[in-house]
Each structure stands twice: as structure tokens, then as C-alpha cells.
């Protein structure tokens, strides 16, 4: 290797590094801006459909939380709704049984319950790997579901938990029929969670988790415990899912067993893989595309839309195997590399 090419390479490493450093803030800003723009566009384009949009936000939080454990840590789970539902029920029970109707306190309750559920699920889930782990997650979500069904004096059982009353947000904004307050509340929650998660995923801890996903043996060989890190991530994930659950409880004022269901978990996983795992944007894109597509086709043909959704999933696997966002990102970076090479 000659001196000259060596120094060019070194210089290019230097620029890469600077680009990366600068990229943190700008990518965060792009992300926040993108959410704000999409949220505003949703508000302007579908002012009559804010309930759907709020629901998308709640599910997006669930999918983000799933991305943390599946996308960043490589733990496949079909039981993420256990965390989401715990948050939803906690928020709902606070209001319906304890008269705590402040939406912020209810959200806090949801976050705590989600984190606790995350801890419990994490401890159990990490006993196995691969397929058996997937089955553990299924067993867990069914246990949570059954528990909620049994504790019907608290949860309303299969009739759902109703009687959730809401104080105005900050004492100012009533939760109204059109769902404006709930929508804005949801958008703000999403922005906060997104910003915090951006910080977490590029932090040393985030890097550790990516390492665990790729090779836990190597992580142990540098003296870190994958188990501890994964439990921690599960708690964070639970808090995020709990936020989504609380938002769902607040915006709909009902919580039912489906919030804790296997179906909900599986749908979340489908949305995540659809968007692309291992990236917060992927989680958001997947949720948005799936929910909007489902809403569109199920309104267009309420009787046979499932086939269309199935076809969408197949098409995505065939033509965008890394998920929608992952594949777009690959295409863009491939183009950047090409243009980079042709530059003198």
C-alpha cells in the first residue's frame, strides 16, 4: 500500500467520522421534523379521522418497543402486547377504580406497569433462544390475557374495562369527540419517546445491544453480560409499550382483552418486519403503512380485505426483503456509493 493511497484512506475515514458525528443531530432533527410533518399532514388531510391517527400512534409506540427488543437485541417475540396491555390496563384502572383521571398520571401509571411487565417478561424470555423463546413469548401473552380475563372485577373481563373518565389535559384541553386533544397528546408523546429512543439506541448501551444481537458470545468475551443488558432493554421496551397502552386507554376510554392478545402482538411484529427491523424509522414506517393500508382496504371492501393485506405482505417479502424502510435505505446508500465512486 503506497503512502498516498494510505493517506487518502485515512482522510476518508476522518471525513466519515465527521459526517457520522454531525449526522447524529441532523438525523434526529430530520426524524423529529418528519414526525411533525406527517402528524401535521395527517391532521390537515384527515381532520375527520383523528381517532384512527391516534390509534396509529399508540400502535406505533408498541411497534417501537418491539423494535427495541427484536430489532436491536435480536429477541424474537410474539408477546409484546403483554407489555402494551399492562400499560393500558394500569392507566384504565387508575381512572376507573381510583378516580385518578389526570391523563399525565395515567400515562405515568402505564409506563410503570409496562416497565414492570417488561421486567417479568424479560426474566422469563431470556431462559431460552430461538424458536423456544418465541413460544415462551406466546405462552406469556396468553398468561397475561388469561389473568386479565380472570381478574374481571378489576379489568371488566371480556366485556372490557369501561368507566374511564378524563380530566382536561393540563386542566385546559378537554378530550373531545373529534379527538383533537388525544391526537396532540399522542403526537407529543411519540415525539418525546422517539427523541429519547434515538439517544438510547446510539448510546453505549444501544451499541452493546446491537453487539448482543450479532454475537452474544463475543459480548461475553469482552466482559459484558448480555443477560443484564437484555433485561434492561426489556424494561425500557416495557416503558415504551406501556406509554402506547396508556395512550390507547386514554384516547378510547375503554380497555379490552385484545390489548393483551396474541393477535395484537403478531400484528405488531408484522408491522415491524414490514417496515424494517433495527431502525426506529422502520418501525414507524411499518406501522403507518400497515395501518393505513388496512384501514383503506377494509373500508373499500369490509368483507374480503384480508386477502389484500396478505398479498401486501407477500409482495413486500418478494420485492423489499429488508422491509420497506430497510430496502429504501439500502437503495439510497447504494446510490450514494455509486455517485461517490464516480467522483474524481
Amino acid at each position: 500500500m503506497t503512502e498516498k493511497t494510505n493517506s487518502t484512506l485515512t482522510a476518508s475515514a476522518e471525513t466519515t467520522r465527521n459526517r457520522l458525528r454531525a449526522g447524529f443531530i441532523s438525523r434526529d432533527l430530520y426524524g423529529v421534523a418528519a414526525i411533525v410533518i406527517v402528524a401535521a399532514a395527517g391532521y390537515v388531510l384527515f381532520p375527520d379521522n383523528l381517532a384512527l391517527l391516534t390509534r396509529i400512534i399508540a400502535i406505533a409506540l408498541l411497534v417501537l418497543s418491539l423494535d427495541l427488543v427484536t430489532g436491536y437485541c435480536g429477541v424474537a417475540t410474539l408477546g409484546q402486547a403483554a407489555l402494551f396491555g399492562s400499560g393500558a390496563y394500569a392507566a384504565g384502572i387508575l381512572s376507573a377504580h381510583y378516580g385518578i383521571n389526570d391523563p399525565l398520571l395515567m400515562t405515568l401509571g402505564g409506563i410503570i406497569a409496562g416497565a414492570v411487565a417488561g421486567l417479568v417478561c424479560g426474566i422469563v424470555m431470556l431462559r431460552a433462544h430461538g424458536l423456544p423463546q418465541l413460544v415462551l413469548s406466546i405462552a406469556l401473552v396468553y398468561l397475561f390475557h388469561e389473568f386479565a380475563n380472570k381478574a374481571s372485577s378489576w379489568t371488566g373481563g371480556s366485556d372490557g374495562l369501561s368507566g374511564i373518565v378524563l380530566d382536561p389535559l393540563f386542566g385546559l384541553y378537554e378530550f373531545d369527540l373529534f379527538g383533537h386533544t388525544a391526537y396532540f397528546f399522542g403526537v407529543i408523546l411519540l415525539l418525546i419517546v422517539f427523541a429519547l429512543l434515538r439517544i438510547v439506541v446510539r448510546s453505549p448501551f444501544g451499541m452493546l445491544c446491537r453487539g448482543i444481537k450479532e454475537d452474544p458470545v463475543r459480548i461475553r468475551a469482552i466482559g459484558a453480560s448480555p443477560h443484564k443488558a437484555l433485561i434492561k432493554m426489556y424494561i425500557i421496551s416495557g416503558a415504551v409499550a406501556g406509554t402506547g397502552g396508556a395512550l390507547s386507554a386514554i384516547s378510547t376510554q375503554v380497555v379490552a382483552l385484545d390489548a393483551l392478545s396474541f393477535t395484537q402482538s403478531a400484528e405488531a411484529l408484522v408491522m415491524l418486519v414490514l417496515g424494517g427491523t433495527g431502525s426506529l424509522f422502520g418501525a414507524l414506517v411499518g406501522t403507518l403503512v400497515f395501518m393505513l393500508f388496512e384501514d383503506f382496504v377494509s373500508a373499500a371492501n369490509p368483507f374480503h380485505w384480508l386477502t389484500m393485506v396478505g398479498a401486501l405482505l407477500i409482495v413486500v417479502v418478494l420485492f423489499a426483503p429488508k422491509g420497506i424502510f430497510g430496502t429504501v435505505q439500502d437503495l439510497l446508500s447504494a446510490r450514494r456509493n455509486r455517485t461517490g465512486e464516480t467522483r474524481p
Binding site: 431462559r127 424458536l131 423456544p132 418465541l134 413460544v135 406466546i138 396474541f262 374480503h304 386477502t307 407477500i314
Partner: protein
């Protein structure tokens, strides 16, 4: 004592039905490394075909069973060529997405073509009625299901462990490139195994239809059950799957007898306990 025997017989019958339906999935997941969530969909297609042949065409149960296996495989061949072939060796989550998509399509099409009502498969006269075991009576079709389970278990064990094809299959699984270099046409091995798995699914769908009635949502309704038994057994292991089915069948049946209101708890707690003790499944091999 009589009750204990009685429960044991029920558990055995239920476990065997689970085995017959799930074993095909164990083959795809363990030997072909494809998380095939559409397995229940193929079982359902088998059920529909059998129902059509036996009920609408009145051609009899035996013929219905054969037709179900043959036509389900015929339906599955283009699906394998066009879709499954694209996901061999892909990450598990991609496989999950694809096979859930296929399941949705199968459900949607079944609902459209066959309608949402339950379909039954009229049993052959010889399988109707009950047999006397001395301490209790048992429906003959349950004995038939137990026999089918044993036959399938033995047949598969023989095919995988003792035949030339089994050797090729195991070689392809362990190291596809090496097997190909040795002249094994892995594509064909995979296609044949897939067809066998689908055929088993259809067979199980028909034999098990007395327990799990055929309707469009079948494909998703029992997906979890199949996935659980296969994983608890250790994907790819015939004895493992058999043990898991019998064990879980026993736990499920006993739980439902002793404390029906906590039946679900029992079952899933048992699943968690088993996996915690055997993190790779009952017959899981270290990787």
C-alpha cells in the same frame, strides 16, 4: 382409578391428533428451517377438499382422505416454487412475514370460495360409533386417530432415518453446499420434503377435523397450538414432537378435568416450565 384411565385415554387421543397435524410443521421448521406459519392453512385446505369429496360428492371417507392429501400437495407445489423458494435461508422474521401473508390469503380465499360456515367430513361407517374398552367407551374415530398418529410417526422415522432420501435430506439440512457438491439435488430434496410436510398437514387436517372443525379461520385459530407443540418437542425431531404432544395433551386434558377454569393457565405455565428446563425443546440438539 377408572377416571384416571379414562382421562389417560382422552389425553392419548388428543395428543395423537395434535401430533398428526403438527408433525408436518416440525419437518418444515426443523429440517427445512422455515418457520411456516401457513401450515394450518394447508391443513385447512385438506379439510375443505375432504369435506367436498366426502360430503358434496359423497365419494366416501377413504377417497376423501387421499384426495385431500393429493390435491393439497398439488395446490402447494406452485406456492412452493413461487414463494417458499424465495425464503429458504432467509432470516426467520422474513419467513414469518411471508407465511403470515400466505395464511391471510388462504383464509380470505377460503372464506370467499367456501363461505364462512363450518364444514364437516362425514366419517366412514366403520369409524362411526363407539368402541367398548371395558371401563369406558371411546369413539372409534379416536382410536383411528391414535392409529394414524402411530403410523405417521413410524413412517416418518423410517423415511428420515433409514431411506436414501432421508440421508440426502439430512445432508442437505446440515450443509446444503456440501450436499450439492456431492451431487444431491437440494432443490428437489427441499421440494419433496415440502410436499411431504404439506401432505401431512392435509392428512392431519382431515383426521383431526373431529376435534378442530374446518372453517376459514382454522388457519390462524390453531396456529399457536401447532407452533407450541413443535417447539416444545424440538423442531425436526419426530420422537420429540411425539413426546411433546403426549405430554402437552396429558397436561391439557388433566388440567381441563381438574380445574377447567384455569385450563389455559395450566397449559401455558407447563409450556414455560418445560422450556425453562429444556431450553432447546424436549429433543433439541445443541447447535
Amino acid at each position: 382409578m377408572q377416571t384416571v384411565f379414562s382421562i389417560a385415554v382422552d389425553a392419548l387421543a388428543y395428543g395423537m391428533v395434535l401430533f398428526v397435524i403438527s408433525i408436518g410443521l416440525s419437518v418444515t421448521m426443523g429440517l427445512m428451517r422455515v418457520v411456516n406459519l401457513a401450515h394450518g392453512g394447508f391443513a385447512m385446505i385438506g379439510g375443505y377438499i375432504a369435506s367436498y369429496v366426502a360430503r358434496d360428492l359423497a365419494l366416501g371417507y377413504g377417497l376423501a382422505l387421499i384426495a385431500a392429501v393429493v390435491f393439497t400437495i398439488l395446490i402447494a407445489i406452485p406456492i412452493e416454487r413461487l414463494l417458499y423458494r424465495r425464503i429458504y435461508g432467509q432470516p426467520e422474521l422474513t419467513q414469518v412475514l411471508m407465511t403470515i401473508g400466505i395464511t391471510f390469503c388462504i383464509i380470505g380465499i377460503a372464506n370467499f370460495v367456501m363461505g364462512p360456515t363450518l364444514k364437516t367430513i362425514p366419517l366412514a361407517p366403520a369409524l362411526q360409533g363407539s368402541a367398548d374398552l371395558g371401563f369406558r367407551t371411546i369413539p372409534v374415530h379416536r382410536l383411528f386417530a391414535i392409529a394414524c398418529g402411530l403410523a405417521v410417526a413410524l413412517g416418518l422415522w423410517y423415511a428420515i432415518e433409514k431411506t436414501n432420501f432421508g440421508i440426502k435430506l439430512r445432508a442437505s439440512v446440515d450443509n446444503a453446499a456440501m450436499a450439492a457438491a456431492l451431487g444431491v439435488r437440494t432443490e428437489i430434496v427441499y421440494a419433496v420434503s415440502f410436499a411431504a410436510a404439506v401432505g401431512l398437514a392435509a392428512f392431519g387436517g382431515v383426521v383431526g377435523s373431529e376435534f378442530l372443525p374446518v372453517e376459514p379461520y382454522y388457519a390462524l385459530r390453531y396456529m399457536v397450538t401447532f407452533l407450541v407443540v413443535v417447539s416444545v418437542g424440538g423442531a425436526g425431531s419426530i420422537p420429540g414432537a411425539l413426546a411433546a404432544c403426549l405430554l402437552l395433551g396429558a397436561i391439557d386434558t388433566t388440567g381441563r378435568y381438574l380445574m377447567p377454569e384455569f385450563g389455559e393457565f395450566f397449559f401455558y405455565l407447563a409450556v414455560i416450565a418445560i422450556i425453562c428446563v429444556f431450553p432447546r425443546g424436549l429433543a433439541g440438539r445443541a447447535k
